[in-house]
Amino acid sequence: MKKYEIKLDRRNFLKNSVSVGLVTIAPGVFLQEIAHGRSLDEPASDKIRWGMLIDTNQCTEDCDACVTACNEEHGIEDFGRPTTDTQWIRKLNLTNEFTGKKYSLPIMCQHCENPPCVDVCPTGASFKRADGIVLVNKHTCIGCRYCMMSCPYKARSFVHENLENQLPHAPRGKGCVESCNLCVHKIDNGENNTACAEACVKDGHQAILFGDLNDPKSEISKQLSEFGAKEIRSDLGLNTAVRYRGI
């Protein structure tokens, strides 16, 4: 006799409500890709390719939580000189010339697979790490700014003034070029997420999703295969790791 009895005593009620509660919260927690972190002495590997999926539908024009978070994370100061101040991530407001529709989205270094900035750097300071992150080795950068000329996304900034009080995990200095490094210090320390993605979730928008593009089970891969996404300036054939949805 198969009869399912719903036991409505207090114990079962508590058990059920707690498990329902956990199941509800869990996607929010696991969306942040807390995968196994790399240990400190393990080098970055090409088995992983870090990337980002940005859902412009979730992005609003008046929000710049990602920009603020990035600036705080890396100690980027505002000198009141917008043409020379560093911007690793910025909000871009778009209006379609034909339809008139408006969009707002964050844009940063796209971490291309074939980065023009890496091609043109004379000393090899601008390089692509094994796990796909494109960054500047500031020990070797001579500050020639050729990479800035070559970037189709205007991702790079040059530090135009003396800096003080740099954060220990984000060394930056005058005369070197820099750009978004997908919070490489957090990744190497095992927190596999970026400051901007975390801030976006905290702000309630969930427009930025960070994860491993090479892992088919990661949330980003699943969302990419379900909803698809676009590469900016795909005509250039750079195969970027940052993709956009909703535009």
């Binding site: 970055a44 080795n137 740099q166 954060l167 220990p168 060394p171 490489v184």
Partner: protein, 134 residues
């Protein structure tokens, strides 16, 4: 006709240029002041001669490979060697009170590390833990 003048100028230049090299490693007192823990990650004489080699290698490993072991990490050096004074402020890297600058200013060997790197600790780090991990 100008040969004698050239020789005089050359000799003067050489004299001035090389007169500063009387400072050897032994002459500089190191002002080591490790407040916590009792020794550095390497013996003093090895550190004195090779600290830049360790730091250079670490800088390459960290930036290019993402290896962030603590032993030769610059932040780890700073967390131990740069201690606040009684009023809680840290010495400026431009002054001789700073551990690194104490020798580098005397030896007039400029280091460019602190153009970019933080010259003082920011977090409370368990220093005993780091040293014991050697």
């Amino acid at each position: 006709m100008y040969k004698k003048l050239y020789i005089k100028i050359l000799l003067t230049f050489l004299l001035v240029f090389f007169s500063g090299t009387s400072i050897t490693h032994e002459n500089i007192s190191h002002n080591i002041d490790i407040a916590s823990g009792d020794k550095c990650v390497e013996p003093t004489d090895i550190m004195r001669a090779q600290h830049h080699i360790f730091l250079n290698k670490q800088s390459h490993d960290t930036v290019v490979d993402g290896i962030r072991t603590k032993k030769y990490s610059l932040n780890n050096c700073i967390n131990c060697h740069i201690q606040p004074s009684a009023d809680g402020t840290y010495p400026s890297v431009k002054s001789e009170e700073h551990f690194c600058s104490g020798c580098h200013i005397k030896a007039a060997a400029q280091v460019e590390c602190f153009d970019c790197h933080a010259s003082k600790p920011f977090n409370n780090v368990k220093i005993e833990e780091e040293i014991s991990k050697k």
